[in-house]
Amino acid sequence: MAKIAIDPVTRIEGHLRLEVEIDGGKVKDAWASGTMWRGMELIVKNRDPREVWAILSRI
């Protein structure tokens, strides 16, 4: 059995990491990990609701 990690796979909301167990030429199990914190929800707290779209439309 082999375990591989692919990191980064993606740039959506930061980066995606995959860890995959391969057994007999097939994927046996897999884990997807977002490796970057977004935190946008905390940025808009206590802000004027009329302006949050401009900040949050980035994600």
Partner: protein, 498 residues
């Protein structure tokens, strides 16, 4: 924005509704074409294989599948020359870091050359058609003209400084250009490539639940269910039944995510009560592997009715198909017929990629319809673009809660807001990339990416192109072909035989 409008009871004007539809529409079309050619195609198309192609045979192939004018032997010879010069220079540039020559590549050289030619054409095409968004949104990405209550832009057929008759005519030209390329290049290429990879119609299916919030609103009611692409939830791949969507069924737990809930990490919270307090418990980088028996991701376990659920074009097309959407049904049946497969083939990596093409075609067809809808409204003298009666915070209640459904190109997106004393008291964004890349939940159910990989054949663990095919089929917004190198070009993939 829709969440805040929903919380404050704001109804947007008809023109704002139509303009939002046009902006979303061109985003679907441009995003999906870019995804197919620039983010996904090289999982299936061997660029170096194109060098072995006979340009005359490539031209013959191209002419049998489409009447697109760029299909002469001379044209394909020129493209081949470009690729050859790149390969010989040793600097592959945009084509660097592919698994070229991998045995999982199945296309004949001529199909590889045709696809590479269209990869390059699509780059030119996309920068043209997205000008439609420049008219309506001021720029791409991140349009600047949105506004709580409508849009922040003037429309007036007779003004130089507004969306006028001239800009509408130019947008119709761009819509035609968008539709032509999708009909004559994207769809024929998709069918041609897919016909060599039919084994991928039984790989990569993953979780059996599909969600769409509905998009392209046909009336101005907040979170209306009257959408051109319908809202719905499909449970356990049962296409005989589409359940109505209830936003209260969306929950997130953080049993395996790097957050700390004030009460219980294992309890699924509705986003109005959501918390985002970070709690990183993973290893200090650089590390070899994560401890996946504990928290292992910054993505929360988003679930619908407690179930791991896929979002995106496949979910939208399945919901539309199962709801009896006439045009979607026609195109889905056409694609299935041409590939000689049944509807069950949709639940796969190939199905996901095909659904994106189907959605692009039907959406591109609607662009002129929506532009003409805007023109007709303006012609009637309706130039209203913003509802400002609840702009002033003194008109707001002391406390309000709202949610705003949207279907982004990549899938279901909803924001939930709680407003107290004129300020945001709580805000949660539950985005398509989160749904699909979600980790395990408290019950141990895998997320959609994770589940879709189980059973995938891997020819060479050092070159796991098969994993990328399935993960890319979800369109997780990846940089083209540069999937496993860091910015210095060092390979980051780690392989360890256990």
């Amino acid at each position: 924005m829709r969440a805040v409008e929903n919380a404050l009871g704001i109804t947007i004007p008809e023109n704002a509704r139509i303009i939002r539809n046009i902006i979303s529409g061109i985003q679907y079309v441009q995003d999906h074409v870019i995804h197919f050619y620039h983010l996904h195609a090289l999982d299936w198309v061997d660029v170096t294989g194109a060098l072995k192609a006979d340009p005359a045979k490539t031209a013959a192939l191209a002419q049998t599948i489409s009447d697109w004018p760029n299909s002469s032997p001379v044209y394909f010879k020129a493209v081949q020359g470009k690729v050859k010069a790149l390969v010989e220079s040793g600097q592959l540039g945009i084509f660097a870091n592919g698994y070229w020559g991998h045995p999982a590549y199945k296309l004949p050289p001529e199909a590889n050359l045709m696809a590479v030619a269209h990869y390059l054409e699509a780059l030119e095409w996309q920068k043209e058609v997205i000008k439609m968004q420049a008219f309506l949104g001021a720029k791409n990405p991140h349009p600047q003209t949105f506004l709580v209550g409508g849009m922040a832009m003037p429309i007036d057929p007779n003004s130089q400084n507004a969306i006028n008759a001239g800009s509408l005519a130019l947008m119709l030209d761009l819509a035609k250009k968008a539709q032509d390329f999708v009909e004559k290049v994207y769809i024929p290429d998709l069918l041609a490539v897919a016909s060599f990879y039919k084994d991928w119609a039984s790989i990569g299916g993953g979780v059996p639940n599909y969600l769409s919030y509905g998009e392209f609103q046909q009336d101005t009611k907040s979170n209306t269910t009257n959408c051109w692409l319908p809202a719905g939830f499909i449970r356990n791949r049962d296409l005989s039944k589409v359940e109505p969507v209830d936003h209260k069924k969306v929950t997130e737990d953080v049993a395996y995510a790097w957050y700390k809930y004030s009460d219980d990490d294992k309890k699924g919270k509705h986003p109005w009560d959501g918390e985002s307090t970070p709690n990183y418990t993973g290893p200090k980088p650089p590390y070899e592997f994560l401890d996946t028996s504990n928290k292992y991701s910054w993505v929360k376990a988003i679930r619908y009715d407690g179930l791991s659920t896929e979002v995106g074009p496949l979910s939208r097309m399945l919901v539309a198909y199962a709801s009896g959407h006439k045009r979607v049904k026609e195109v889905v049946d056409m694609v299935l017929g041409k590939l000689g497969v049944g509807p069950a083939a949709l639940f796969s990596t190939l199905g996901r990629t095909a659904a994106r093409g189907i959605e692009t075609l039907v959406t591109a067809e609607m662009l002129p319809v929506w532009i003409n809808e805007l023109a007709a409204n303006m012609k009637k003298g309706d130039l209203k673009i913003h509802s400002g009666d609840k702009w002033d915070p003194s008109t707001w209640p002391a406390e309000a809660k709202g949610y705003g459904f949207h279907e982004a190109p990549r899938g279901a997106l909803c924001h939930w807001v709680v407003i107290k004393d004129k300020k945001v008291a709580n805000y949660q964004c539950v985005v398509p990339g989160g749904w699909n890349s979600a980790p395990r939940d408290a019950k141990g159910q895998r997320g959609p990416f994770e589940e879709s990989l189980i059973g995938t054949p891997i020819a060479d663990p050092k070159k796991p192109i098969e994993i990328l095919r399935t993960i890319h089929s979800f369109d997780p917004c990846m940089a083209c072909a540069i999937h496993i190198v860091d910015k210095e070009g060092n390979e980051l993939i780690k392989v360890r035989a256990k």
